[in-house]
Symmetry: C2
Subunit: 245 residues, 2 copies
DNA sequence: CGGACCATTGACCATAGTCAACCGCCGTGG
DNA sequence: CCACGGCGGTTGACTATGGTCAATGGTCCG
C-alpha cells in the first residue's frame, strides 16, 4: 500500500517523461516509512539529514522559525511531493518540515538517490525539475503575499492546493482534506487570524468555495479562480485543468 | 575580459567543490555575450528560451507581471548568477527577467549544458545546487515580505544584496552599485513608495547604511544585520562573513 | 527651455491588526 | 459522571499602520 517508488514515479510523470530503464531504477530505491502525528517535526532548521522524504499520505508543511518564536509557513505538500529534496545538495536545513495533521512519509537515503542520478541522469533531471517547480511555487507565494489583498490571497492559496491535488488525483467530491488551522493560515499568508477568518467568510458567502472542519470544498471553480487570479502555468504540469463545477 | 566560464567556475566554487576535469568541461562551454540597456527585458513571461544567461556585469531582476500591469520583483542578480537556469528544465517562463541598469550577460546554450551534465554529473549537481540556493532566497523573501515590518524588510534586503556581493568580491569601499529605483523597491517589498522612502530615511538616520544615487554604502554592518534580522545561513555559502565596519 | 522621471514630504484615510469576549468542542482528571 | 481547561473558531470595537493622493524640487535629456 505504501509503495513509495510507484508514488514517486506517478508524480514525476506529471511533468517528465521517463524511460522503462529510468522507471526500473526508481523501483529499486530502498526506503523506510515513518508515521508522523499532527504537528510533529520531521526535520528542524539547522539539521543535516541523510535521507529525503516522500509524502505517502497526509500533508506536510515547511516553515521558517522567526526570532520571536512565531512561524512563517512557506509551502504545503501532499502525496507524491518531496518536501526536502533540496537537502540532497544543501548541507543545512534553512527551514523546518512538519506534519499538518497525521501523515506518512517514505524516507529515501541520499546516497541511493545520488547513485541513481549518476547512473540514470534522466531520473536526476526529473527530480531537479521537481525542485524547480517548488521554486516556482515559492515565487508565486512572494507575489501572493506581497501584491494581493486578503480575499484574493486566500483564494489563490486554495486554488493552488486544490489544483495540485486535482492533478495528482487526490480530490474527492470536489474537495480535499486540509487540516490547516486559521492560525496556520495566518502564519502562511501574513495576515492576522481575524482577517483570515473574515476572508474565509467572504469566500463562503460568495458561494465559490467552503472551508469547514479542515475540509475544502470547491463549489464554483471559475469564480474561485477569478477571485484568486489563479493561472496554473507556474506549476508547469502537463495534465489538464480541473473540470469546472 | 568577459570570460564567462571563469566567472561561472568562480561562482560555483562558492558552494561546490569541482575536480579539474569538471572545471575543464566548464571552460569548454561555448557562449555569446549580450549587452542589455537599463530596463531591457532579457526574457518575457511565457517564453521558452534555448539558452541560459550568466550575469557578467551589472544587475538583472526577475519579476512577475500582474493582471493590472504592475510588477512584482522576485529577486536581483549580480555577476556570476544564473537568473534563468531553471529554463533548462521548465518549458515556459513563469516570470520575466530584465536588466537593472546596464548589464552584460553570457548566453549558454541549453544543449551544451545538458550534454556536459550527462558527461560530468558533478557539474550538473553544482548548478542544481545553485538553483536550490535560488529557491532558498525565494523562501526568505516570502518571510521577509510577509512577517517583517517595513524597516526590517528593507534592511534585510540590503543585507542580502550586500552580503552576496561581498562573498563574490563585488563590493568596493564598503558598498556597491544598486541601480534600483524606489518604485522598484516598492514592487519588490510590497510597500508603497512613500513607505519605502520613509524606511530609507530611518535607515540613514540610524547610521547603519545609506542608499543614495543608486549606491548602497554600509556604515555599520552589525547594526544593519540586527535591523534586518539577517542570518546568512540560507545562502548556503562557504566563504566567511563580511567584516564588520 | 520644457518635459519626464525620480525622490521627498505632508495630510488624510482606509484597511487590516490588536484586543477582548464568547462559543463550541474535546479530552482529561477529579 | 461531570466539571474544568484549553484550543480553535467567530465576532465586534478600537486603533495604528501604512496606503493614497497631491504638491514640490531636482536632475537629466531632448
Amino acid at each position: 500500500m505504501a509503495d513509495a517508488p510507484r508514488i514517486l514515479a506517478e508524480k514525476l510523470r506529471e511533468h517528465s517523461r521517463l524511460s522503462h530503464a529510468d522507471l526500473a531504477a526508481i523501483k529499486l530505491l530502498p526506503y523506510k516509512t515513518r508515521e508522523l502525528s499532527h504537528n510533529e517535526d520531521l526535520i528542524r532548521q539547522g539539521d543535516d539529514p541523510n535521507v529525503s522524504a516522500l509524502v505517502v499520505q497526509g500533508m506536510l508543511g515547511r516553515y521558517h522559525l522567526l526570532p520571536n518564536g512565531r512561524r512563517q509557513y512557506l509551502s504545503f505538500h501532499m502525496t507524491g511531493d518531496l518536501p526536502d529534496a533540496q537537502a540532497l545538495f544543501l548541507d543545512q536545513m534553512d527551514h523546518a518540515v512538519c506534519a499538518i495533521g497525521q501523515a506518512i512519509v517514505a524516507l529515501l537515503p541520499h546516497k541511493d538517490l545520488l547513485r541513481t542520478f549518476e547512473h540514470r541522469p534522466k531520473v536526476g533531471f526529473a527530480i531537479w525539475r521537481e525542485t524547480l517547480i517548488d521554486a516556482a511555487i515559492f515565487r508565486e507565494a512572494i507575489t501572493n503575499n506581497s501584491a494581493r489583498p486578503p480575499l484574493r490571497r486566500m483564494g489563490h492559496l486554495f486554488c493552488e492546493l486544490f489544483y495540485r491535488a486535482e492533478v495528482s488525483g487526490l480530490t474527492e467530491a470536489g474537495g480535499l482534506e486540509l487540516p490547516i488551522s486559521l492560525s496556520q493560515f495566518s502564519d502562511t499568508l501574513g495576515m492576522a487570524i481575524a482577517t483570515v477568518n473574515r476572508a474565509l467568510a467572504r469566500l463562503r458567502s460568495s458561494r465559490a468555495m467552503e472551508f469547514r472542519h479542515g475540509r475544502l470544498t470547491v463549489h464554483n471553480w471559475p469564480r474561485l479562480r477569478d477571485i484568486g487570479q489563479f493561472d496554473p502555468g507556474y506549476l508547469h504540469l502537463r495534465k489538464s485543468k480541473p473540470s469546472p463545477t
